[in-house]
């Protein structure tokens, strides 16, 4: 289990991370969210032992993270972190040996992964000769080649086409099933919703929202009512608790403050013609994110 307890990081007078805590169990995927400059990279670096914490404690399986256990951590950076003049094999050996593998072990595992990702022919090609997507595949392979206990994925789908995104998703879920602890960071909220069991949202280094995703959504009082039909927008907006109405093609999304408004909306819609859809949905993570982050910015 990864335990992050009350960590704070100051750069001089600047507070980059302020008292954040979370726990991730084996086989769980945890979302670390925040706008640019929110403190995600600083948090990653503290988890990996790259940065000293000003306060707090980080343990992996009850052991404080230091260079004696960093071999158990895999990291996929947001930007490409490959040495462009090396071949794929050379690069794999370089990073693999630094993670405690022998060159032979690296090559054996690399062959397996290259085959899995359909890029076996690039084994002896230079990194700079590969496309952006294939470089990302190599980077992903190198972050998991040593079978890490804790895997940090920062924007893992960057530069990938939909087919490769599916390939990555499959691999991430496989790692989850193999009990890997995964920290997932992305600005694509649908990916977070797809993978994460729990999450934390950071704003200016502070925790503005955290917990299990299902509970966050449940606790978030606002709901969306999806409607198809000829509705009277003005009448609906007069109902107390209706925040706004958006139209996307044929479908209307009526945003309401809480569940108690549903009945009033339903009553108003029953007077309208051709209503073919009325569905009450949980809000998307994207909405929650924008709402919470925006709120914190205003503060």
């Amino acid at each position: 289990m990864l335990k992050v307890e009350h960590i704070t990081k100051y750069y001089g007078d600047f507070r980059a991370v302020n008292d954040i805590s979370f726990e991730i169990k084996e086989g769980e995927i945890f979302g670390l969210l925040g706008v640019n400059g929110a403190g995600k990279t600083t948090t990653f670096r503290m988890i990996m032992g790259l940065l000293d914490k000003t306060e707090g404690k980080i343990t992996l399986d009850d052991k404080e993270i230091d260079y004696s256990i960093t071999d158990k951590i895999g990291f996929l950076t947001e930007e490409r972190s490959l040495l462009l003049t090396k071949t794929v094999l050379e690069q794999a050996i370089y990073y693999g040996v630094l993670k405690g593998l022998t060159p032979e072990e690296v090559e054996e595992r690399l062959d397996k992964y290259l085959e899995e990702f359909n890029i076996s022919e690039y084994k002896n090609k230079k990194i700079k000769e590969l496309s952006k997507g294939n470089q990302q595949k190599i980077q992903f392979i190198l972050s998991i080649i040593h079978k890490p206990k804790l895997l940090i994925l920062d924007e893992p789908f960057s530069g990938l086409d939909p087919i490769n995104v599916e390939l990555f998703k499959k691999e991430i879920l496989k790692l989850k099933s193999e009990k890997t602890i995964i920290i997932f960071s992305s600005h694509m909220m649908e990916h977070i919703e797809y993978f994460c069991d729990s999450l934390i949202i950071l704003v200016n280094g502070c925790n503005v929202l955290s917990g299990r995703l299902s509970k966050i959504k449940k606790d978030y009082r606002r709901k969306n009512i999806k409607v198809i039909g000829d509705i009277n927008k003005e009448d609906l907006l007069k109902i107390k608790g209706v925040i706004n109405i958006e139209k996307n093609k044929e479908e209307y999304t009526i945003k309401i403050e809480d569940e108690s408004i549903i009945h009033s909306v339903f009553k108003a819609l029953s007077k309208c013609d051709n209503i073919s859809k009325f569905v009450v949905e949980e809000p998307t993570l994207n909405e929650i994110f924008i709402d919470k982050v925006g709120e914190s910015y205003e503060k």
Partner: protein, 450 residues
Amino acid sequence: MKNKFKFLTRESIKKKIGTKSFKIVNIILCIIIVGIINLDSIIKLFGGDFDEPVNIYVYDDVGVYDDFKNIMENGYLEAMQKSNAVVKKTDKSFDELKQSIIDEESKDIIINFKKIDNVTYEHIFDVDFISYEYVDTLMYASIVSAINNVKESYALSLANISQEVLSQISKSVDINRVMLSDDINENEELMELIGGVITIAFVVPVFILVTLLVQMIGAEINEEKSTKSMEIIISSVNPETHFMSKLIAANVFAVTQGLLLILYSLLGGAIRLFTVGTTSSGINNMVGTTSGELGQINNYINMFIHSDIASRLLVGIPLFIVIILLSFLAYSLLIGILASITTSMEDYQQIQTPVMIFLMMGYFLAIYASVFQGSSLINVIAYIPFISGILSPVMYTLGEIGIGGLCISILLLIITCILLYKYGLKVYKVGILNYSSSNLWKKIFEALKN
């Protein structure tokens, strides 16, 4: 961690030495160095006017041919050898010979000693000096001198002075040279020559090696930073291990390159020895002198071998090696720290400028050290780390500082390296993961405070 350190160091060395460019550059360096040492042989190999012997044809109505030939061959050997000249008589008539020189545009010379009617001690004979075009200055001056010598000798014989007396008159005066200063340097001339030789044979390679070292470390750290692979590397090994691996690899490279330069010089010398039979012209070429000064160079070499400089160098060289290695280390520590805080190669190019200025100072002061012997300023600067690597060995060789001075330089370099390592590592840890140039100095001072 130990294995990772070895691996990182090996990879870094492989990246510097195992590349095609290293091999190509070294092949080129080998060719250039061997070529410079054997430059005269190479020039001769392609031939040219300098290969043609110069015949000095003598027409003699006076009877001084033997005298002239003797004086030229014994007194002006250097000029004769340089121009590959021979003094001889010819069966050809004066006009025929002149015509043949014109036709062949030859470098041959005609010396025509002509009898005159009213001989006086002042005016004994006339001489025509005939050549197709201007003769080499040294050769012309030598022939004119020889003719004057012939005149003197002929005049003395006219005055009924016997050969025995003549040879006694010609004997050089014994001069007892006395210098009153107590700290006079007996090897003043030698010092100046050695200054020139050292500048080329020692200072220039050290300067080049430090420059390479500075470039290598900067480029490698910058590459890892700019590709963000530093994040992955530092998440696997601590910054200290990473830093040390870079330093050791760069120093191994510098030492290897230095040894290769020595090897190429030895190879050049061996080829010279095999083809020409002497290595001294190699030095001759290096200091930019002509083969005519070969005798002088050989004299200097003999003076050097028998001087106290040679024995002092024997003691000094092990300390030179220590100073050079420590200087390499100090430069690599400093440049590694500076490279870690830069965010691009352009930044690095700018930040390395002060380091290069230190190096240049050492270089120029080493050149001036033999000219301004006894300079207090140069003497003090010779102990300053970063400059001492180049300057103190030169100062020691010139007799300006002693073994004690070298030891002080070593001590100061060790202290510098320890301080750079202790405080530099703190900066390095912060610098390598810093991608923004804003508040950089603030971050550095914060790192130093922690």
